[in-house]
Symmetry: C5
Subunit: 380 residues, 5 copies
């Protein structure tokens, strides 16, 4: 158990190292369930999905950008933790499909993406997930994988942190301290990552236009039916937003005036569910963090208190030393070889010297202790 923290560290590093070593291959899955491994450079990808070089750079594992969900004109660019994917209305491109963390995601995509006949109209009536257009089914798989991945990491950390803290509380040693430090550091990084995804989902949920951006199929069908879009006004409401993630504030009141907007609901319900899940994960991490902080406060006070008790005991010993020194001094004085007048014939003196000095030193010791006690320096 003692090595768990550093093992985790190493594991995380290993993941990073591996990723950078893997060749820049991609896997392409389409709506009919076919998949194909592409081992091409970024220019081929850019041609394939009409994505800008700037946006492709966001998915570069070497640059380690924070998690992002970007809605572009014809694609959704996902950079969620280890999963880097490009979703179009008909295909999903996943980067580094051989990465051990990505393999299950690809499996899941393979299982859930193919539609069984009812894909022509996003029917609102029956099935549970097939009601979604292709891009949202892909998005859901990726979000689910990301949330589960982070939740698993969080649980792993939790099971390491609590015993490590208990161990540290019972015995403060360099080794335990170092283990807690490593776990804390791993937790800080994990919290940042979870927080980033939560923020990204919150921003999306906050802005109906951003969500509308992600309806790739609908945008495609609108642009492919020029008759409907040329005839009347509502069409240009949409065009401003094509191809961009409108940030935090474009609280458009204009686009809420036409009826198509009600489709944002589906996506909203989808994102909300994962928002609550990732929020719960963040909650757990926050609780762990506060537990660590409380424990550190506790250890600090504990250490201070321990020290004071040690010093109190030392005080007793010092008091004893002083009294014994006084006694010794008296003995040493009488041990001097300087002759004095009453040296002989006073055999009874020895007894009195020993007894009286002993009593004097004892009472001096007691007076020091009672002084310290009266001042509240040593416990009653």
């Amino acid at each position: 158990m003692a090595l768990a923290g550093s093992e985790m560290e190493l594991k995380l590093q290993a993941i990073n190292n591996k990723k950078t070593a893997i060749s820049r291959s991609w896997i392409l899955l389409d709506r009919d369930g076919r998949d194909m491994v592409l081992d091409v450079d970024k220019y081929a990808i850019m041609r394939l999905v009409e994505i800008h070089a700037r946006d492709l750079r966001i998915m570069d594992p070497l640059l380690s950008y924070p998690s992002t969900i970007l809605g572009r004109e014809k694609v959704i660019v996902l950079n969620l933790e280890h999963i880097k994917a490009i979703i179009t209305a008909e295909e999903v491109l996943v980067r580094d499909p051989m990465d051990e963390d990505v393999v299950p995601v690809v499996e899941e995509l393979r299982r859930r993406l193919p539609v069984k006949g009812e894909e022509e109209s996003c029917a609102q009536d029956g099935g549970e997930e097939n009601e979604f257009p292709f891009e949202f089914r892909a998005l859901e798989v990726v979000l689910e994988a990301t949330c589960s991945f982070l939740d698993a990491r969080t649980r792993e950390l939790e099971t390491n942190v609590y015993p490590a803290l208990d161990e540290l509380t019972s015995k403060i040693s360099s080794r335990n301290l170092d283990k807690v430090r490593k776990l804390k550091s791993a937790m800080t990084r994990l919290t940042n990552r979870v927080h980033k995804i939560r923020e990204e989902l919150e921003n999306l949920l906050d802005d109906d236009d951003d969500m509308a951006e992600l309806y790739l199929s609908r945008k495609l069908s609108i642009s492919s039916s020029p008759s409907s879009s040329n005839s009347d006004g509502p069409n240009w409401h949409h065009s401003p937003n094509q191809g961009s993630k409108i940030h935090r504030s474009s609280r458009g009141s204009a686009t809420t005036l036409h009826g198509e907007e009600n489709d944002v609901e589906e996506l909203e319900m989808l994102l909300e569910a994962y928002f609550i899940q990732i929020d719960g994960t963040l909650n757990k991490l926050t609780t762990v963090r506060e537990y660590i902080d409380d424990t550190e406060d506790y250890i600090n006070i504990q250490l201070d208190n321990h020290r004071n008790q040690l010093i109190q005991l030392e005080l007793f010993l010092s008091s004893g030393t002083v009294c014994l020194s006084i006694y010794s001094l008296v003995a040493a004085i009488f041990g001097m070889n300087i002759p004095y007048t009453w040296r002989e014939g006073h055999g009874y003196v020895f007894k009195w010297v020993v007894i009286l000095t002993g009593m004097a030193c004892g009472s001096f010791f007691l007076s020091i202790v009672s002084y310290a006690r009266r001042k509240g320096l040593v416990g009653s």
Copy 2:
């Protein structure tokens, strides 16, 4: 009193353990006062109330999601602390009705849900609570129970924290420290839970559309009267929002243009009252937290100051030891068995050696002490 903290801990854990052990049973209460225990799996529930699997998962006690109030198309999903309920326009489904914390809620629902004749039109004239539609009466019972539950937990904590802190202030011991740590940790968790509910209520109050979502009866009556909705425009203002909790920012200006919105008032007044109550609870917890923090600062300074006083006393003792050592040294020198020339016939020397050395050592002691005092190291 000393065990209160850990007892509470255990109790909270016990609650959690119990919950996970209880079978996934539900109780169904309808507007006519009938109730029925359902011991069914989640698919039966999903069929019964038209709720999505994702939303049902939020109420899973094993996953421990944070508190949530979700307005869906035909149901309100409540996950408030220990109370997990689904409210439709005509029924309330409460999970785990045998849980000892949930039993009084079910009792209260049984008492207050049945309407006494005036339920056909939500009359704004007279009665205190019967003016509300069914879903709000259910919601109020659940909110009241949740707020009271959290307030009771807070009071319980308060009565434990203050004596524990006073005890710790008067005597810093490992046992007291550990007790305060446990209480602090329990308080952090409780604060998180209270904060979460406060936030959820605030988000609802912030957004008129989210509140409109919760008017299940009204939505039902609108959708069941197609004549009114097909005739004119205002109808489609509503449709976009059906079935989803529109998050923090959909500050819709469109929906404020028609007259139905005034009904949000009732719900607003209801939620506001519980918002103020939960805000008061949070206030109390914050005050307790700040009291704990101040006490810890105090203890830290106190411990540091105590240590300095201990060390000051030790300094006196060390000074004494040094002076006594000097005296002893002189005595030891004269105690050597090496013969010296003036050994005999100088009986008066002894007296002078004892007196002069004593005076020298005493003045050395005083000079050390006065040096320390002049430097401000020991108090005047």
Copy 3:
């Protein structure tokens, strides 16, 4: 001065105790200057002013809700610190009028509420306060009393805190520490209360609709002149907002389209003035808080530094002890009663032993000190 902190504590507690003991009596003041003491239960009050039980509960001193200003359909509910009042368009009801802190407020209300002839139309032309409708004059008196009360408490705290901190800085003792802790705790509570009122005023100022809610007279005159409200559309703009405090976000753009809104100005100017005043009070408290925190940091460093200096002095004494021990040891060796060969006839040895050992010990002491100095352990 030393008892000021705890005296204040006691006083605050006394206020609380007293409040709970006082009977639930009310005083009613109307616009013609008449007043009447009502010793009735809450149901009578509810009947008298058409207020909901939930809202009346907010003013219950036993439940200690935070400060609130609530605009309801026909009343303004005020729970500002010790002043709990219900304002209607024609009367003011103040709770616990015999409370020593409430008496001056009632006096002030009695003095300023009666209007002198020009009350029929809220004239915007001349007088300073009579231009306001009845409810705002009452509101102003209560706000002024609350702000002055809190400002007085703040000044009182300030005059206690600064000398207490200076005393603590010059002498760290348990008594001074405890006094500062008590003052800090009192300050935290006061800051929370001031902050709560500031927040409440800010929320009101942020939302024009909430402010419009408080125009009881105007709402009354609109509802009593059905001819004007039935004739045209603008009327139903208002109805949605009657009877509820619309929270932080209903930044209604719709209601700004008609001309009545300009009356919000008066209230805005009124609230702004008290907002600035309470903001100044909060500023003072923040400054005091930061001064306390800085002083605590200072004391911590000071204590640490003091300790190091004490230990440095002890180090000198320890060094001395070691050197004296060496000297004593040499003397003790020569004091042994074991006979050795060169015992006789070497009278000159004594001199050399004393001198050489003394020089060796002295140089050892100097080398320890210079080592410590070279390492930077003791000051130059």
Copy 4:
């Protein structure tokens, strides 16, 4: 340099003292360059500029309100640090013109207020500052003076803080600690003041309506040309806002619909420039604050480390003392006067006792030291 902190303290206090002692005199400057000292009471001022008593109170130096910029119907009320001024469309009233900090502001106003011929129409074509209406030229002078004043105070503090901290780092003494504490406290107060002005400017910039409030000349010309205002609708858009600072949220969409709004630009550009300047000042203060905090952390760790090293050295000395005590004990045993059997004829024993005991004690010392080293207690 050592006294700089406290000198500054005294100076700041002196400023405050002086202000309260100065008589409540005003200076009035008009657009033709004439000025006149008014030594009148507040009622005269209220009559002169049509300002409410509540607003005049904000400028009372005795009440020390935070910095404020208030737009009223016909005046701008400025309470910026030491400068308290009332600006109307034709005159500027400055309080306490004899105050040494205010004198240069009055000089600058005298120099820049008089317009040179092109004042009849706020021409947008050429000159740099004359393009502004009268009230903005006055506002700019006051803002510039305030920003420069605070920036100068910040620079002064910076030049004091860095050497004081360096001195403290090299030598921790009570005097240096106290100096840093005083500087820190002065900095906290200064930061609060800068922050308040920054906030006030930000709030103004955030709200176009608040800025429109400050166009006194334009409001005057609109109200004096009733023909234009009575003829059409746009006029009542403005009336709601006359006479009040609409707070943070009245994000009026209505007023953006007509063309006059483009004049807000001028003021916006003016305020923006000073916002950036005061933001830079706040940045500097934040950097200084963080430097102080980092230095305190450093000093704390340094002191702790120093103490540990002192205790390590003491440990060596204690070890030495123990070993010497053992040696002394052996010597003392042989120094007892109790006769033992082998007392005579064993001259060689002395040598062995001295050598063997010495070696035993030496090895005991080394074993203690090596134990401590093995445990990592003393450095290698």
Copy 5:
């Protein structure tokens, strides 16, 4: 490696010093690829680009204003870190082009600014960057340079911080502490700068009108085609916003009503990419900061724990000293030269005195140690 922190410090200072010494020269680059060094004063610049003196002051390196992006009527004013530039629709003016950090930016501008034939209409079809109007190509070069510069600084810091902290953890010395302090201080400053730029980009992205301000070419073409602007209404929607950066809140709903707004997309996508990049940089810095803080907590606990262990060892030694003192005292008593009655003929006494006293002292030592162990003062 040890000097890296202070070297970096010096380097940063050197940059600042150099900048202030360089003459105020400018380089002008136009869209045809020509460049020209201008060594003129600020009045010439003001005449050249129609910029206000206030805005030019923002770029004064002596005043060290924070990073700013300002959209004015005909220019964009950039003050991003070391790069101070003025962009018009046809030219770019860069300050201090000889500065070693600015040279590569100028090179890049020279390379990318000249357009190759398709500049007459901002074609949205093909090329990657030529699709942008002139001012955005210039802006992108500057943003890219700034982001890369800050990212490089961050990496440099990271490579210095981690080894420095590891070194500090393994050995706490004044030198290491000082190095970490310097790095921390450098990091704080860098974080502030990165944060400032991130904030500036976020504010721009939050406000569509601010972004519209930056479309210099479009504004130019609109104002140069009066026929289109006079004919219909939409034109005056734009005029209010010309020439000013409308701050955080002018969430204009009006301007979203016409079709030109879709061009903001291009800029939005551009700024978004750099926002994500600078956000990633800030993330890294935050992680480093948290790592430093965690390490400091660790060091503090470590130091405290170390001290306690030292004191525990000292306690053992003190216990030993006390016991030895007792033994010595007994020996000293018997070493006194006072004659006692049983002096002769008791040779066996010596043995017993030595053995019994030794056993008594040993058991006393053990009882002290076991007492401390029982109290939990020394580890088991």
